[in-house]
Symmetry: C2
Subunit: 333 residues, 2 copies
Amino acid sequence: MQGQTLFFNKPVSVTAVATIAGPKEGEGPLKDYFDYILKDDILKQKSFEHAEIEMQRRVVKQLLNKAKITESETDAVFAGDLLDEIIGCNFAMREFEIPFFGLYNACATFGEALILGASMLQSGLMQKAVCTTTSHFATAERQYRFPLELGNQRSPLAQWTVTGAGACLLSAEGKRGIKITAATVGKVVDYGVSDANDMGAVMLPATLDTLDAHFRDTGRKPDYYDMIVTGDLGHAGGRLLLSMVKGKGYNLDENYTDCGILVYNREAQGVGQGGSGAGCSSLVFCAYLYKLMERGLKRKILLIPTGALLSKTSSLQGETIPAIAHAVSLEVI
Amino acid sequence: MQGQTLFFNKPVSVTAVATIAGPKEGEGPLKDYFDYILKDDILKQKSFEHAEIEMQRRVVKQLLNKAKITESETDAVFAGDLLDEIIGCNFAMREFEIPFFGLYNACATFGEALILGASMLQSGLMQKAVCTTTSHFATAERQYRFPLELGNQRSPLAQWTVTGAGACLLSAEGKRGIKITAATVGKVVDYGVSDANDMGAVMLPATLDTLDAHFRDTGRKPDYYDMIVTGDLGHAGGRLLLSMVKGKGYNLDENYTDCGILVYNREAQGVGQGGSGAGCSSLVFCAYLYKLMERGLKRKILLIPTGALLSKTSSLQGETIPAIAHAVSLEVI
């Protein structure tokens, strides 16, 4: 490990992806990239939580089908979601005969899953691993803020939790393709922000910390990447980031965007500062960024899922909100 | 990967341990093995959740001190706890400048941490990793069942969540010592038990599944191990396990015990079926089992932390309780 950064000298391939988008996400700018768009967000289940579980189950099933591999050929699933005790993936995984690692780094969980999956393949201990996360607007609002039924007014800095799931298959095989070549593991950073409706400001210091570490450890400059994509600072947080990195001596104006910005049409869709949620970066990566790389339109992407590590208990107890961000370097080789 | 089992051909060393036990745990049979026994379970904090966070912070600090390593020499912390959104370790980790992976497999999280930490070291990507979990009786009761202030009667099959924290340091160095040589990664197993007061019965099928996989994948028989220690089936669950493995053609009568059985004196301490909690297996391993191996009293231990993957939401929505168990093979080499 160089500082906080892991270099995968046997680069790990991302060989297949699967996505399920909610109805609102399916009306957004990425609509043509999703495998499947839900007609509603309850999926004939008896609760939104069950709908999220069902979404998680379906996306893993779909990935295995698309990749044409069986459960017994899959060494492990690395998964997480935003529900208390990550019941989204816990309950989905009882339908699969696959060894399971449950993860929680909030909306940075997809980055955590990619890093742990890639490390496991690099070690030679595993050959194929699934990385997946999910989130659901209704379950996240109920859990972290207020149930939708209350009809609360939304705060101007609020983001919109993505209803959706993304899953990808990592494989130790293949010389060429879309590879995870390096990753910078985030530390927990808390700058004292306590507004659970302003996730961009909460997650910004952790993002800066990880970006700094990534450039320091790799010796790379921002222009090494065709795209640097956080997930999910949203519009306000993204603007803050662009301004604050200049104070650190570098410039992301040319190649920066954010999963929460990409996933919705902000003006038309009434989503506040943009998307968020553990499913946001997995959905945007698996649906859109992966295909940009597959088609040769982008060759080097730095994906930085960012997570706010609050709970409703910590917020009600008056705590500030720590955050974390993991950077994953993806390159077409 | 052979079936569900990883073989570490560059065995990973457990080179240091640290433990903090709650007051009740400090009156139990393992009292002489703990580094530190708390005088009370609130630690001068304003809530039990803050006390759990403080316990997690102290145990990591203590481990780094005992191992005489700095934060910058520590490649990563793999940690989890039972609080919603694992705020125990999230908030503790903001005090450390160490890359962090948040994990959640309920009371099996310590097994998950050991497996991921050991795999990371085996890959050569990291040299030193901390694995730690914590739990607290008062926070767990409030979250999963009822706040203590209600004074509810306890169910006959209930277990007692351990107040305590254990942490160990994994190192890629050293030819001899206490090594992680293999590990069997659990699948999520749900046999339809829905009683949140009977964790032993909930976690038994997952334990059997992982034990079966471990013996099948390794070709070992139960007598390969000096001790086979689940965490935490408790007294009732442990008895059920001993009886049910016989139906599968093997016998654990001679070398089986459970972290939840070891940690309390059941008759004197009024703990129902024994201990449980994410901190139970880490506390018992780091305090007791590690020292048995260090002193040469036991040379081969199979540690099987077991976890019930419920949340209060899933229980209130009438769901059954899935479970998972990971087996970690520890040998003195």
